[in-house]
Symmetry: D2
């Protein structure tokens, strides 16, 4: 089977699955999405794209944005990033305070909320206008100049962001936050509100499958050694406390968001994004995981 046939086979199979899980609704703006949406886009390293369903429709990328901000932070601070955040899986839900307290304000990894807030703080210290810098970078690597934040979502997150404010204040008490907390959270909520399609996501994640470059473009958007390491962190920490399960079932580095998106990469082969808004209990797209598990089964190869 070629990729297109595989995507169609997957679609047939997951269409017959009982619909499980629930759309994220802790802010009204996320709860309004049509739960039946389903899209997938696969970008192969030889330059061909394959798609199916709502692959061109934009949705809230939420935590997937943490990968982009980590890329920028590694450009800015290189290995000094790791003085302020770790690379170990947390084994705890994405917004837990317990480990953070126990470990003196150093987040376990950059993909739990506390870690992403530290990364946002790093970008605040470096960029005059971090919102603009972030947006420009994602527009460039996705090849889509029309991407934008959803201000309504960002505002709504802010109104319900007490737990994130709790994390930020705790880290500040340990000296691991340098800028004003409200400013950081404002930037953080904007970055999470970015809206992208499966195609946008897959195309931009090609830099992790292709040693830092996009296809048809000689620019190095991220050093290969950095791309390799971000892949490693996605592998062990990309799915909150379900990271081991994803690694076990799918066998690819990836990152999910509560908007229902998942992006994954098979280095040297392809990047792929899938979207289905219903989440399992761990906060990851139920059909998204089912889809990617079938992808590595049907292609017959994963990184393992």
């Amino acid at each position: 089977m070629n990729y297109q046939e595989i995507l169609e086979e997957i679609f047939t199979e997951v269409s017959s699955l009982e619909s499980k899980g629930a759309v994220a609704d802790y802010i009204p703006e996320l709860g309004n999405v049509d739960a039946s949406k389903y899209g997938i886009y696969l970008d192969s390293i030889d330059g061909v794209g394959f798609s199916l369903g709502n692959a061109y429709e934009r949705f809230s990328i939420q935590s997937i944005s943490k990968v982009y901000s980590l890329v920028l932070a590694m450009k800015v601070l290189d290995r000094d990033v790791w003085k302020r955040v770790g690379v170990e899986p947390s084994g705890d839900p994405f917004n837990s305070l317990t480990l953070l307290e126990y470990e003196n304000g150093i987040p376990r990894n950059p993909f739990i909320n506390s870690g992403a807030i530290v990364i946002a703080d790093i970008l605040m210290s470096y960029y005059q206008n971090p919102k603009e810098a972030f947006l420009n970078f994602v527009r460039k690597i996705s090849g889509n100049p029309n991407l934008d934040y959803n201000e309504k979502v960002a505002m709504s997150e802010k109104e319900h962001g007490f737990r994130n404010a709790s994390l930020a204040n705790l880290m500040k008490s340990f000296g691991n936050i340098h800028n004003d907390i409200e400013d950081i959270l404002d930037f953080y909520f904007y970055q999470c509100s970015l809206e992208m399609s499966c195609k946008d996501l897959a195309q931009s994640f090609m830099i992790f499958a292709n040693k830092g470059k996009l296809l048809n473009d000689e620019q190095v958007y991220i050093e290969p050694r950095h791309a390799k390491r971000i892949n490693a962190i996605m592998q062990t920490c990309g799915f909150y406390d379900e990271s081991g399960e994803f690694s076990f079932r799918v066998g690819l580095p990836g990152k999910s968001g509560v908007g229902g998106g998942i992006v994954a990469v098979h280095p040297s082969h392809y990047s792929v994004a899938v979207w289905s808004p219903k989440l399992n209990k761990k906060g990851n797209s139920y059909l998204g995981i089912e889809t990617l598990e079938r992808l590595t089964t049907l292609t017959g190869f994963s990184i393992f």
Copy 2:
């Protein structure tokens, strides 16, 4: 020996002790205090007061203020207070987030910081001007109309209050905080900055030794059943994670503050306050505990 002789005997003994511990210095204003200060004041239920050393000098009462605000909250909400805060010892340091997260934003008891912040929130919802109400109440029961907040201390706490902001935000995320967090913390830091002498403290705590009344005054400042219960909470929770140790060594209900003050009561007998700024590792006055242990040994009676 009568009480005066006992106080003098204690003073002789503790004067010969090696000076241990350190003055609290997480804000500069607290660190400036003269570490050699030492005062004690005992108010006996038959109306005689006994004192020694710097018993009339005011210092920052800090966490001792949590007892006064609990009294006010029980007047306001009666037993509904216990829907929002527990009565169990925490077994954790005074500002831990772990238990609070595990227990869904309900603080273990009103004498750890999170619990006191909930109590402050309760008072904010009830009083138009909680700072004024609080101050008036303490002035009245201490018989000292000159008591006041130390604004410099309150401001300084605020600048270093990230952990308390973290606690408040976490509880707000669980719905256990109703007012604006900045307003609550402002009130909380003011209440902690109140300055009182050993005499002021002992006199005001007579309401816990005398079933809710002061001496020579028929007014019931707190219902006897409330006084009894606050004594019980002081007994099990008054000294952070050293509460069992204090109960074991001293055998009286009491409350300490990082300003170096400790107040204790022997119901139906006396209230007593001691002040010495150097704190042990658990944040309680080193000589304060030594003093009170000798007091119950030399008088030959405690509540046990």
Copy 3:
């Protein structure tokens, strides 16, 4: 009202309460007890005993035995006991491993299972035949030479004692257990299987109300300073993670067991035992606590 009238008033009131809770049934021998049993015995310090209901019927004392073994350990090691076990409330269920691991094998206090196992280990190191020594001591202070262990209960505990074996092994890995684990647990399960009546319990606990002595007997069974301290520990740690609640509602030092018994003392006034097999969720007798709360309310005095 005199004590007898108070007991009868309490009986009337608690009889009308909806019957709540469940009999402990983790071993079949405990589950077989008649759930409707109810007894109370109050021994006043002036030598008069008051009783009601099944006050003379024996039941499994279970964790109440931990108080007797602590008395023996303090006789043997005096303050060196506190090198191997703490005096702080645990804030956790009675058999938690988490704190024990975190605190390097030193149990929080002698009334959680791990602490009682350390105490058993201390007695094993001192007595040739600790089972006999323990039984003789309790027979003596209860004035009942017929008391005995229930071997069937002890054996059954042993068969289900994997969690206690887990605790003992963990402490041994930290060096805080000196004897053979099977021997210690055998002794521990026997001590818990002892059967006593409310009368036996109240009479023996008089040593805590009467500065170490029984009534009509000049022998000092425990030094007054030890009695005072055991009272303090009962106050803060006697009811697992409901100790604060018991202190708050009842205001007396006491100890409960999963057999449905509770003993409490009002120093210089009385000792009292109550028995009702149904337990609340924290493992303490539901009607037992209701009874004692009414006792301090109706008598109008507690230690606070």
Copy 4:
């Protein structure tokens, strides 16, 4: 550079590193090893082996044995293994009880001690003589019929195995252990005491690099889907609470043991084993990790 040149380059570099870490010495038999030993063996999928240093000398494989026993358990129970043990990283040290208690006796993954004990229990239920079955399997896939347990090491582990006994008893209290604890631990300590060389290890791990087969042998020792999943678990859980760090720095699935050995595989390319007895603070071979990091850097490719 070819593999042999790369090994030599690595050897030159790590030889110049300051010697860090300490040999495991919680049992005397492990502490006696010569700390300066260093060996490496790389088995490439095209059938050529490369070696350097003490690559043919046997040492105690310790936790590496957990991979072999997982293979056997998956053969026996297939996916039912995952009803009794998870696949998530633990984020805690290898022998922690806290998570195990919190998660009701289901170990996080098969590579922490509790998980390996459950796997041993599974094998005990299936095999008449699990020690023999285990040994035969490892002899076969390593191609070395002379491999054997070190009885002295096994006995010594047993004498110091109180923490493992604690874990086993805790899981038994939750119903997740079916056989006699002493028997299970006896088997577990034997399996850990197995002695193998870098060559033995690399050769046997070829089944993970080669879809379940050895080279020059058509037998399928483990189904390809199982091999893939064990690789995924090694990737996320193979190095205790340093698994993320290893993934980040090296980028290969692998497993370490406190004997100083590490085995890793690059699926479809090679398997590799390295041995150096000095361990870092997380219990992993200090020079072993340095070696493998250089290997993926110098070859220019990892799974990411």
